[in-house]
Amino acid sequence: MKARVTVTLKAGVLDPQGEAVRRSLGALGFEGVEAVRQGKVIELDLAETDPATAEENVRKMCEKLLANTVIENYAIEIV
């Protein structure tokens, strides 16, 4: 079973990398990009076969290591 974790910055947390990407897109002529937020995707291969248990385990992983919940949100997809 695979899980995909998407980690993003919380709303209101300044994202200087996203802002640099936005400016660069503007310089390339892509108009109307009003905001860019950059995050990361973490894919996990799991031995677990029960989706509910897998999701619960990945949630623990996110809380303990994969995301810093002071500034980041996470979303889990079991695929």
């Binding site: 947390v13 300044l14 200087p16 990398q17 640099a20 303990k64 290591l65 994969l66 810093n68 002071v70 500034i71």
Partner: protein, 225 residues
């Protein structure tokens, strides 16, 4: 004074830190170097240093992997028992990731790695790390980091201020950090995390001695304790 410095793969200020501790602890008690895979700390330690560098290549987030290593869990227990812990640069990042200090160090607001000398202001002398300085004293210290942009939630910031736990601020903010914060103390004032490098300023032949006061402060606090 018995000091130890934790070494991770990617640490690069570990020996500077040990030299700084040795200068104030007397050479009969040399600083003990503790490899991150060691499963327990040496007995009878007074202070533990977590050095600068790029532990585990800064993978995932700066300090994140190091903060979950077994030896850092021992450091957390040591701190909760009232031990002194000093985290500099990457060490500060490890301390926030481990939960010993509030907040987080984000990417510098200009996105650049900054390596230069800056003026740092002593904000409190009420700690074992700053008692040899004067409040408001300006120190010239090197910074060398990509992720020194301190931030925390408004409640934590208010507590840091109300409890006089902001140890150092920048005179001119180099990295976007909240309220110019360069270093903070834990609730019991025995854990200090800071981005500037006092351990690189302990010898007049190597740029100055503005950092010596911090290590002398620790030695004095331990003698008078």
């Amino acid at each position: 004074m018995r000091a130890a410095v934790i070494q991770f793969p990617g640490s690069n200020c570990d020996r500077d830190m040990a030299v700084a501790f040795d200068k104030v602890s007397g050479h009969n008690k040399p600083t003990q170097m503790v490899w991150h895979k060691d499963d327990h700390l040496p007995e009878g330690l007074d202070v533990i240093g977590i050095p600068g560098g790029f532990s585990f290549g800064d993978y995932l987030r700066c300090g994140a992997i190091a903060a979950r290593s077994p030896i850092v869990q021992s450091v957390v227990e040591f701190a909760r028992r009232g031990g002194y812990v000093l985290g500099i640069c990457n060490g500060f990042q490890v301390l926030t990731e481990s939960g010993l200090l509030p907040g987080v160090l984000m990417r510098n607001s200009n996105l650049k790695f900054i390596c230069k000398d800056v003026d740092v202001i002593v904000r409190t002398t009420d700690s074992a790390f700053t008692n040899r300085y004067a409040k408001g004293q300006k120190l010239r210290m090197p910074i060398a980091h990509h992720d020194g942009n301190y931030t925390t939630d408004p409640d934590s910031l208010r507590r840091l201020k109300d409890e006089d736990r902001i140890a150092f601020t920048y005179d001119v903010n180099p990295n976007g950090s909240l309220d110019d914060i360069a270093g903070i103390l834990s609730e019991n004032r025995r854990v200090l995390g800071m981005m500037p490098h006092p351990e690189r300023l302990n010898d007049p032949q190597l740029g100055g001695t503005d950092g010596s006061g911090l290590f002398e402060s620790i030695a004095e606090a331990l003698v008078s304790a």
